[in-house]
């Protein structure tokens, strides 16, 4: 049963892999650690966005492992500027494409614009730039690689680090249980911008991720996808568990897979019965120090938050409605 779990939790059958595009846009030779879930996520997101796209990437693991002079692992036109400004760089690209298209300086349809950054570059230092870009309604897709800490600089906590996790700046000790705050809900923040498409995804469910990215890319206006990316180095987990752990995160409701389309919530991968959260926490060294009371608290919180999410999914109306603005033709007054 365990062995076939992979196929079971998919909407597609085991052979779906055969139907996926073979072309690679994030190439081998990149220098991620062994078993890097973030690299796997990049690989699938890049396949989904297809050839005709421009990528702006934030400083972070996926930038560092892929773009040291004189080599690049990217097949797309790709730009890295800094850590906290990727959404702003993408807004500039979007604006330029718009004016160049209007002036007839672009051959063919404008390419898609995609911004990518880690959880630190997204939910901490880059939050303002992202909020601005979403609010302004740029036509772009933002992908957050959430490995739940600042991995590139050596596993420091971020606002996306889960409660209880050990990082180098949230170490457990006599006076500390590790990260003492609950993970920031970036998805809710994105939804609050009333953008047409927001989703969570995980490369352990590559097809779910693939089709969400495709949807996001095609949707006019801003889209946000939050990708849980297992990091064996930072999570202190075995390198071969990177796909398994992502699945456990979903099956325990630690990281439910859903989308919010025009304000309407929809669970895309349903777990018939939730697994205990411990199943997910145990294989990870970063939670090793937690005792029963903390584990119990985490279990209760996860459960409560999941109920809340299910509640949102049941709502007959979306959290907001997007109505296109069509000005009335001016009436002649007789």
């Amino acid at each position: 049963m365990e062995k076939f779990g992979y196929a079971q939790s998919q909407k597609y059958d085991t052979y779906a892999s055969r139907l996926m595009p073979r072309e690679e846009f994030f190439t081998s030779g990149h220098r991620s650690c062994q078993g890097c879930g973030e690299a796997l996520a990049v690989r699938w997101v890049c396949k989904a966005i297809g050839k005709d796209a421009i990528i702006a990437h934030a400083t972070g693991c996926m930038e560092i492992v892929s773009s040291g002079l004189p080599q690049t692992a990217w097949m797309h036109p790709w730009i890295h500027v800094a850590f906290e400004n990727t959404a702003a760089v993408a807004s500039g690209i979007d604006a330029a494409l718009k004016i160049l298209a209007r002036k007839g300086k672009l051959a063919g349809a404008p390419p898609k614009v995609v911004a990518m950054g880690g959880d630190g570059g997204t939910s901490d230092i880059g939050l303002q730039a992202l909020s601005g870009a979403m609010e302004r309604g740029h036509n772009f897709t933002y992908i957050c690689w959430d490995n739940e800490a600042y991995m590139n600089t050596g596993i420091q906590r971020s606002s996306s680090t889960p409660f209880g996790a050990m990082t180098t700046t949230s170490p457990p000790g006599k006076e500390s249980i590790g990260q003492s705050t609950w993970k920031k809900d970036m998805v809710a923040i994105a939804v609050a911008h009333n953008i047409p498409y927001v989703a969570t995804a995980c490369p352990s469910y590559p097809f779910d991720l693939y089709f969400k990215v495709k949807k996001a890319i095609e949707m006019p206006g801003p889209a946000y996808i939050h990708v849980l990316s297992v990091c064996p180095t930072g999570w202190r987990s075995a390198t071969d568990l990177s796909v398994r752990l992502g699945r456990l995160a979903v099956e325990t409701a630690v990281f439910p897979l859903y989308e919010v389309e025009h304000g309407r919530y929809h669970l895309t991968v349903e777990a018939p019965r939730l697994r205990p959260v411990k199943d997910y926490l145990k294989p990870q060294g970063r939670f090793r120090h937690l005792r029963e009371p903390e584990l119990d608290f985490i279990q209760r919180m996860i459960r409560a938050r999941y109920e809340l999410l299910l509640e949102k999914c049941r709502q007959p109306y979306g959290e907001f409605a997007t109505v296109p603005f069509t000005p009335e033709p001016e009436q002649e007054v007789a």
Binding site: S28, Q34, P70, H76, P232
Partner: protein, 97 residues
């Protein structure tokens, strides 16, 4: 910049450090990093392609006949493919010195 970095002069540096060859990282062989590698038992393989799907490098290539194998140039030996193989037909074998 096709020369090794430590021989490249400032005159040869591209404008703003630009890189013109997409995917040039392929020249870097991450295969040297591994201490174990996957071995396929083809008789049990159902050729589903799941192993190919889950490799982060990617370092799994399809052979004629629809079976899969690792690309020794890039496989880092993480073991994900072996863990995720739906029939359990991949085993990880230590690298020989």
């Amino acid at each position: 910049m096709s020369k090794p970095l430590e021989q490249t002069t400032w005159q040869e540096v591209e404008l703003g450090g630009l890189l013109r060859e997409p995917g040039s990282a392929r020249a870097y062989r991450t295969g040297d990093w591994r201490s174990q590698h996957p071995v396929w038992t083809k008789s049990r393989c159902i050729r589903c392609g799941v192993c190919w799907t889950v490799c982060p490098e990617p370092a799994i290539i399809e052979e004629p006949g629809g079976y899969f194998d690792m690309d020794p140039n890039y496989c880092k030996g993480c073991g994900i493919c072996a863990k995720e193989c739906v029939t359990g037909c991949i085993s990880m074998v230590p690298e020989e010195e």
